[in-house]
Amino acid sequence: MFKIPLTGTMLAASRLSAKLLTPNSGLHTTAATLLKEIQANKLGNKLIIQGSYVPSPRKDYLIENKSKCCPLCSLDLNIKHTDVLILSQFVRPDGCMMPRRVTGLCPTQQKIVSKLVSMAHKAGLMIKMTPENCKKDPTRRKNWKKFNTYFDESTIKVYDNHFTQMKRDIILKYMQNKNL
């Protein structure tokens, strides 16, 4: 009976120490100013696998964001699903959308971009960024998927919750009635 609380405290202490050492916490044992990359080198019979820091490939071409908004809100772009060069920045090499933790967008923009990315994939515009087992050719898809499709961006509707949706609809109705 005595042992149970003791083990509990021990576990909590171990968790705390693990938390402190992880890079997500504020404390760092090494300088975490650069990106990481896993490198595998062969020296004779030995195979050395090590994680090393590398400078970001996007460093020179990055647009500075001075406002407090997210990078897409501050630029105020009208992005279409055919703008592949922009959408490919938010996508991993296998084609899936990166999470908000990585992209740093606001929730509404994240939802819009993720839908635009799926549209671009369905239209077969980003065949380069697909998993390895993909056939890489939209004409080899099944049934209706092999034919050309385009999408209307006005069909994307993103609301934070039910109440904001109601609010926005009421304002729009009022504007239409008053012909504003």
Partner: protein, 179 residues
């Protein structure tokens, strides 16, 4: 008569041949444009009883595009006349069987139903690929401008172009780059 006026007269009284490339074009949106040239609505001498229409050659009709879920949702109806003879075919199934059928039906159904419709439709030549016979290619004098731009795929850009394009976001500091 001036030189320009003479050309205008040739264009009105001769049967011209127009070429239309249907890659990534919506046939339902293009049909009013093609009807204009088939009937000769763009000519100053147009009258419904005057046979002044032009020929239109449509190529790459296999590569037409539809918006969203239209390929599944659009259904073509046919009835044999016997009881239980009704059939509904989705657009993608019809396009598999005959890649020229959807475009022909779109233009045919857009036009007003009268005795001239079948005559006008005879002047429409549709080909699924770019392999148009030379006898027809010889006559062509004009190309109709397509309505929608053909979207560019990521493969069409070079690696250097993709790398040097202005970037909106950067990776976070603890991001693991994959090769």
């Amino acid at each position: 008569m001036s030189q320009f006026g003479r050309v205008k007269q040739w264009n009105t009284f001769a049967r011209c041949w127009h070429l239309f490339d249907a890659t990534w074009q919506n046939p339902l949106q293009c049909s009013p444009l093609i009807e204009k040239y088939l009937k000769g609505l763009h000519k100053p001498i147009y009258h419904p009883f005057v046979d002044c229409g032009d020929h239109v050659v449509i190529m790459n009709s296999k590569q037409i595009a539809f918006p969203g879920e239209e390929w599944r949702r659009r259904v073509y109806f046919h009835h044999t006349g016997y009881s239980g003879g009704a059939s509904w075919t989705p657009a993608w199934e019809l396009h598999e069987k005959d890649p020229t059928m959807i475009f022909r039906k779109a233009v045919y159904h857009y036009m007003k139903g009268n005795l001239f419709r079948r005559v006008v439709m005879e002047r429409l030549h549709i080909y699924p690929d770019s392999n148009v016979p030379e006898e027809i290619m010889e006559n062509i004098t004009n190309q109709i401008q397509p309505l929608r731009p053909i979207p560019k795929t990521l493969d069409s850009y070079s690696n250097e172009e993709i790398e040097k394009y202005p970037k909106i976001i950067d990776y976070p500091q603890d991001y693991l780059l994959s090769k």
